[in-house]
């Protein structure tokens, strides 16, 4: 792998950039692997990367139905934060956020992690109390977060509507200075390049058609390009988790729904942080390219089409026009949808199953991008050692039978 640096960029420029190597190979599947990851999104690629790097499992494959990073990894609003309420959530999201801090350097691929600061507005007395509770939980966990006053909100985000007579006036905000955004495609591409360099086979355009079991154990996966023997399978298929897991006879506590997002045309910088307005169900940030990146709530019905319902976005835009009045004369450039995997308690699943050798990483719902590094890290550890990583343990499947739900709804009611 040739190393990326300002020097390599200059050197290659001299030769009209004709000597760059492939970022990843396009290998044919082998007959057998030590482990197969199903799904080459961010979570799957990160899992493969850490399996190879941390656990020296390099004879593994990541099998992808389409193009790598083409699912929710390439369709989200790239928000990165860890200021969750429940302890298990704080642990996984903060591990993830801290890994993001050095990820560009570790992967030698600039994924543009931008800790520009993220604020959750408090627009009712109740929301203010709830977020104060989250703040205390977070600071005791060691997170760098604080409550900020309406005045400070306005200083950090001058375009916000601070009219005290607004429908939902701003009473303050909960602020994570090192929350922010990243370049979503680059996360997938960086992990893919890193995993590939360690020998991981990333096989694109190859759908898994079956998962073969013998005596309660996984023995291999059927694919469009033939049967692949393996004793360990990690399913990381987001919105398609239910479909893939049913190939192994496992029914999941998952519903797949459409979550939409949109961007404006590019404008010069107007907002240099991420603002989430949970009471009115909308949030907004601005990409490096200048587009306002806007997201809101998910549709209510199951949907595998990546085409959402316009009214969902309409409510989000309406809320944001009221929150940031200057955007009224700006324009929607492009809207799109992704299929998100929602669990009963809106928290993820990182777990083994009743089928020996079968592991599943899913349920990230509307907030998976921020979790990619941590999710991959603990899931790789779980697969490699055949037991849950301590941070993964609370997210096991059996929590649904025990009633041990991890409910974040009190902290945030909006998709992000």
């Amino acid at each position: 792998m040739n190393r990326y640096s300002v020097f390599s960029v200059a050197r290659n420029a001299m030769n009209y950039n004709k000597d760059w190597e492939r970022a990843w190979r396009s290998p044919n599947p082998k007959a057998e692997y030590d482990a197969v990851i199903i799904g080459a999104g961010g979570h799957g690629l990160a899992t493969a990367y850490y399996l190879a790097k941390e656990h020296k499992m390099t004879n593994i494959a990541v099998i992808e139905k389409g193009w790598l990073g083409g699912g929710n990894t390439g369709r989200n609003t790239t928000i990165i934060r860890s200021n969750y309420l429940q302890e298990p959530s704080i642990a996984i999201y903060e591990l993830s956020r801290s890994l993001y801090e050095g990820l560009s350097q570790e992967l030698n691929y600039n994924m543009m992690f931008s800790p520009r600061g993220l604020m959750m507005l408090c627009q009712t007395e109740h929301e203010l109390r709830a977020l104060k509770r989250t703040w205390h939980a977070n600071r005791h966990a060691g997170l760098d977060c604080r409550m900020i006053s309406p005045k400070e909100v306005k200083e950090i985000c001058p375009i916000i509507n601070d009219d005290p007579n607004a429908r939902y006036p701003i009473l303050g905000a909960y602020y994570q200075p090192r929350g922010g955004t990243g370049r979503h495609d680059a996360v997938a591409w960086g992990y893919a390049r890193g995993a590939d360099a360690m020998g991981v086979d990333i096989i694109q355009n190859c759908a898994v058609t079956g998962i073969r079991r013998e005596g309660g154990k996984v023995v291999g996966v059927e694919t469009e390009r033939g049967y692949i023997k393996t004793k360990r399978v990690g399913v990381v298929a987001a919105g398609h988790t239910s479909v893939v897991m049913q190939m192994a006879g496992v029914n999941m506590p998952i519903e797949s729904v459409c979550l939409q997002a949109l961007v404006s045309e590019p404008i010069k910088p107007v907002i240099d942080c991420v603002v989430m307005a949970n009471t009115v169900h909308g949030y907004m940030s601005q990409s490096d390219k200048g587009e306002l990146v806007i997201g809101g709530g998910a549709d209510s019905y199951n949907n595998y089409s990546q085409r959402g319902s316009f009214p969902a976005l309409e409510h989000t835009v309406t809320a944001l026009v009221e929150t940031f009045p200057i955007i009224s004369r700006l324009r929607m450039l492009r809207l799109w949808g992704g299929i998100v995997d929602m669990t009963g308690d809106r928290s993820p699943i990182l777990s083994g199953t009743d089928v020996e050798g079968l592991y599943v990483n899913c349920g990230w719902g509307t907030g998976g991008f921020k979790a990619i590094p941590g999710s991959g890290f603990v899931f790789a550890d779980t697969i490699a050692n055949g037991r849950p990583h301590p941070i993964a343990e609370p997210f096991s499947l059996n929590r649904f039978a025990e009633g041990r739900l991890i409910d974040e709804s009190v902290a945030a009611a909006v998709a992000h």
């Binding site: 300002v6 010069k268 200057i326 041990r404």
Partner: protein, 1005 residues
């Protein structure tokens, strides 16, 4: 350059030379004619450069004729009315219009950012993924801020938008997107049936390319036919014609968004209060897409220089606005259509130095006409480079060379000052694809055209790849008739026009014209001009493994500019195909997402702004609260008085006064927001037993009982007092926030799970204004009012209910208490609510009555240890957790949540349990949500023992109090817990969560 004749004397059908219009471009006054666009007027003034590109900041001029434009982006209007990134080719001028160019500093002519161009080769595709990584902190603090400033296009407005927007839902039988020849024909056929037809076009006028597309209809110019059609449609009473209206998006079940620019072209319209934009939400029976086609360029070296434009644009500018692209042009083409440009320009007196045709020896009528007109034509040739001066701002000529896919051999210089280029046309299939329509590659046209559509869209004319007038007309009529047939309408008789057009020679694909020097090492070939995506960048992406078309697009940003790839997508695919030796279908195509062109956020918000953003629910007393200085807080959709500060009082003082009034005298609370639901039927008691954790079937008539409701997970979701008013009749109270939800919840269970239960449920929340009269003097106040209700302790005991008259009004009186004081809740029909409220205040004056708000209410109940759903609970808390196991029936076989409460995690020991907390320092109020710690002296991460749910300074007992959910809390009674707050350790004792009148004597007098 000015002074040269760029405004042709006898051309320009859309401009009115009798009406001069003057506006400013970058502060400089420009004079044009009514009917001009900013582009046509500025170009007529002799200026070519209209903007700077995104990455290299290269000077750019107008390329297109309409919404395919990607370079001439301008900002229009001032201050809070400024609107960035508009297309100069679409903005209609009016007196006083202020337009500015974008993405340049300090000026369009001298742009510092142009340094990027010199460094161009270093800024290869995706270069930023490969660098800017060291040192780690530099990305956020150095590189990114620079990139952000350099990126972006126009500037945002400065303040709140003063203009009005609105939306309208409309249903029609047939919607036609596009009013060119095909669209007009379709509309005529569809309208003849009498069905409701909408035809919309993004332009200010109908007709599409009828004026410059060639061909004849009924022996005359298609424009004449279009005129009569337009008039007929405008006169029909079953047709809605919409101009300046873009059919922007197509969604499920023929739901369509149309974006109408009502007032942008004339400020007097918005000045009158008319909406600036209107968003049409259309539900159409049948949709006919007649959106036309977009001409595509050819990639040659320096093909982005100002003056290189699409052949249709050069032709259109001249024909419509009399604006000449230059004095002497070169036409570069691989098809016949561009010959129309050459011929038309020549006929208008614009010099055409040469037609450069990449085809070897095509033969057709148009080519013969060109020869006959004396135009020089070089076949089998292409452009190898563009020669410029003035820093690339002016074209001096082009280098022509024989066209071959290899290196450029001998070159000939051709002098010219503009280039009109055509690589063929791409059908506008965007709408077709928005909802899953499929497209297929057409080797004849060398582009994608519609294939299958999941929802039976109809498509006609150029949008369908049918570029000739007779074909477009025929498809239009057919689509109109088919739409009527599909709707089972009755076809009407129309006299169809007949069209003719000369046969055309085949198009031969050319994507990439080699440049001077080593292949791809010379000047840049631009594919996506706005994003500065060049051919070599696309090839680099392939080399590096970004082979999936989506990877290529994302890695190079091809097609991701504000034009969304209208001119660049197919060209890019062609270049990649050539570079990889694959066919275009093998490369694939990216998906088309709504909207077709940008839609203002203002129009999406419509009228839902300011006081119409989200409803504020008002009780019958709301305006009294306003008049009496209430300090409001949002509660659900309501706005409730938090407190009523008197002169000189802050919130805290006011709340304290209100609390003490209730404890010592009497207080009045507007509790109208509480949910009220009438429940009646033979099975009503059984039904309530299933909905509540405790039992109601045993409740006696006239008696009240406090009930707890859990969800199926076993967690508390609502609470309130329910009274039995008859053998089969109950009235349930819910929380204010829960009123609608619980009414729906009851209906859902009755309809879906227990349809056998004979119970009717009717929510009546807003029928009643309801007030709490609470405090030692409560009885005296009510007794002072005339009426037939005996409020005495004996006649009206605690937790009972009576109906009767009070102050001349029929009321429902409940003796219940959420404050722990002697307390009655009086319900009266809402329209009399204010009258009763006034009467109570009048009667209460003698007893020191004061109104109190939600905060006093919260403190009063906290002093008594009463929970509030949402404060003491958060979707993870059971009735047992909050110490109310007494309200969880052991006898009932089943109730909502019962089974889940038996799951291991819910019944395990040591769960968080509700306790009271008393701080060591009675004057210290624990902060909201504070967490008790196992070791408050240590450093994070610290193990927490639970959190504070409610915390106040209690005026009644003169010290701070708090309620908290603490792990294994009830076993910790008497223990001291530690908090780490503001760097200090704060200690608090665990106590029973009842702080005032523990035995409950006060409410029982």
């Amino acid at each position: 350059m000015s002074g040269k004749p760029y405004r042709l004397s006898d051309a320009g059908r859309l401009i009115d030379r009798s009406k001069r219009v003057s506006f400013t471009f970058d502060g400089k006054t420009v004079s044009g004619f009514a009917g001009d666009t900013v582009a046509s007027a500025v170009m007529a003034s002799g200026q070519r450069v209209m903007g700077r590109s995104f990455k290299y900041h290269r000077p750019r001029g107008v390329v297109g004729l309409g919404s395919e434009e990607m370079n001439a982006l301008i900002g229009v209007g001032k201050a809070e009315r400024h609107e960035p990134n508009l297309l100069a080719t679409k903005v209609e001028i009016f007196d006083g219009l202020s337009a500015v160019s974008q993405n340049r500093w300090p000026s369009l002519n001298h742009d510092i950012g142009a340094i990027n161009n010199v460094l161009g080769r270093f800024f290869s595709a995706g270069f930023y993924y490969k660098t800017f990584m060291w040192p780690q902190a530099f990305w956020k603090h150095v590189y990114e801020p620079f990139i952000r400033q350099a990126a972006g296009l126009g500037k945002a407005p400065t303040g709140r938008d003063p203009d009005v927007y609105e939306q309208v839902h409309v249903h029609c039988d047939v919607l036609i997107a596009g009013a060119g020849a095909a669209g007009l024909a379709a509309a005529e056929a569809a309208a003849a049936s009498g069905l409701r037809v909408i035809i919309a076009d993004e332009n200010p006028r109908l007709g599409g390319l009828c004026d410059i597309g060639g061909g004849l209809i009924d022996g005359a110019s298609p424009l004449e036919w279009a005129k009569t059609r337009a008039a007929a449609l405008a006169a029909a009473d079953n047709v809605q014609v919409l101009t300046r209206t873009t059919v922007a998006g197509h969604f499920e079940d023929n739901y369509v968004l149309m974006f109408e620019r009502v007032g942008d072209h004339d400020p007097s319209i918005t000045a009158a209060g008319t909406p600036r934009h209107r968003l049409w939400k259309v539900r159409a029976g049948q949709i006919i897409i007649a959106a036309g086609a977009i001409e595509r360029p050819i990639a040659f070296a320096n093909n982005d220089r100002p003056g290189v434009m699409l052949a249709s644009a050069a032709r259109g500018l001249a024909a419509r606005y009399g604006t000449a692209a230059g004095v002497n042009g070169v036409v570069f083409t691989n098809n016949d259509d561009a010959y129309r440009t050459a011929l038309m320009l020549k006929s208008m007196g614009v010099g055409v130095a040469r037609i450069i045709d990449s085809r070897t020896n095509p033969e057709s009528a148009l080519i013969d006409q060109a020869k006959a007109a004396g135009l020089d034509i070089s076949f089998g040739s292409s452009i190898a480079g563009v020669m410029t001066s003035k820093g690339g701002k002016q074209i001096d000529g082009i280098k022509m060379s024989p066209y071959n896919r290899g290196r450029v051999t001998n070159e000939t210089k051709v002098d010219c000052d503009f280039v009109a280029v055509s690589g063929g046309w791409n059908p506008a299939v965007h709408l077709w694809c928005h909802n899953g329509g499929k497209i297929k590659f057409d080797h004849e046209l060398q582009t994608y055209r519609p294939d299958r559509s999941p929802d039976g869209l109809l498509i006609a004319g150029a949008a369908n790849g049918t570029f000739d007038v007779p074909g477009a007309l025929a498809e239009g009529y057919a689509a109109g008739e088919q739409a009527v047939a599909l709707l089972k309408g009755k076809a009407g008789k129309i006299a169809k026009a007949s069209a003719t057009q000369e046969a055309q020679a085949k198009l031969e694909p050319i994507w990439f014209a080699p440049a001077t020097g080593a292949y791809n090492e010379g000047d840049k070939h631009f594919i996506d001009q706005q994003n500065d995506v060049v051919a070599s960048g696309l090839e680099l992406a392939q080399r590096e493994g970004y082979e999936s078309v989506e990877h290529t697009k994302r890695y190079t940003t091809l097609g991701m500019a504000t034009d969304q790839g209208k001119t660049s997508n197919i060209l890019g695919l062609g270049v990649v195909a050539e570079a990889t030796g694959k066919t275009i279908p093998e490369i694939g195509t990216t998906t088309f997402r709504p909207p077709y062109t940008t839609v203002s956020f203002g129009s999406i918000a419509g009228a839902h702004v300011r006081d119409r953003f989200l409803p504020v629910r008002r009780t019958a007393i709301h305006d009294w609260h306003v008049a009496n200085g209430a300090d409001f807080e949002p509660v659900g959709q309501w706005r409730r008085p938090y407190c009523y500060p008197k002169a000189g009082e802050d919130r805290h003082k006011a709340v304290t006064r209100e609390i003490l009034a209730v404890r010592n005298k009497v207080g009045l609370l507007d509790a109208s927001t509480l949910g009220k639901i009438e429940i009646k039927g033979p099975d009503a008691g059984e039904f309530l037993d299933r909905m509540y954790t405790n039992t109601f079937s045993t409740l006696k008539e006239g008696r009240c009982r406090y009930g707890l409701m859990a969800n199926e997970m076993g967690f508390l979701m609502d609470d309130g007092v329910t009274v039995r008013v008859g053998p089969e009749h109950f009235i349930m109270h819910t929380t204010s926030g829960g009123a609608d939800r619980i009414a729906g919840w009851l209906e859902e269970w009755l309809q879906t799970e227990w349809p056998d239960l004979k119970v009717f449920v009717t929510p009546v929340t807003e029928q009643w204004a309801q007030f709490a009269v609470a405090g030692p003097n409560a009885r005296k106040v009510l007794e002072k009012l005339s009426g037939d209700i005996d409020f005495s302790a004996e006649a009206f005991p605690f937790m009972t209910m009576k109906t009767g008259t009070l102050a001349g009004m029929s009321v429902r009186a409940y003796r219940i208490s959420f404050s722990g004081e002697l307390s009655y809740e009086i319900g009266v029909p809402a329209n009399q609510g204010r009258a009763l409220w006034d009467a109570i205040l009048e009667a209460g004056a003698a007893f020191g009555i004061e109104v109190y708000g939600t905060e006093a209410l919260h403190v009063l109940r906290a002093e008594k240890g009463f929970i509030i759903i949402g404060d003491e609970t958060d979707n993870t808390v059971t009735a047992i957790d909050v110490g109310l196991e007494g309200l969880v029936s052991k006898k009932k076989r089943d109730f909502i949540g019962k089974r889940s409460m038996e799951q291991s995690f819910l019944k395990m020991d040591g769960r968080k349990q509700l306790v009271g907390l008393l701080t060591e320092d009675p004057n210290y109020v624990l902060p909201d949500g504070a967490h008790a710690l196992e070791d408050a002296t240590g450093k994070p991460p610290q193990k927490t023992l639970g959190h504070v749910t409610s915390t106040y300074m209690s005026p009644s007992i003169g010290r701070s109090i708090a309620m908290a959910l603490i792990f294994n809390g009830r076993a910790r009674m008497g223990e001291t817990l530690s908090f780490s707050l503001d760097g200090k350790v704060v200690k608090a004792k665990v106590v029973e969560p009842v702080f005032y009148d523990k035995e409950g004597a006060r409410q029982n007098v």
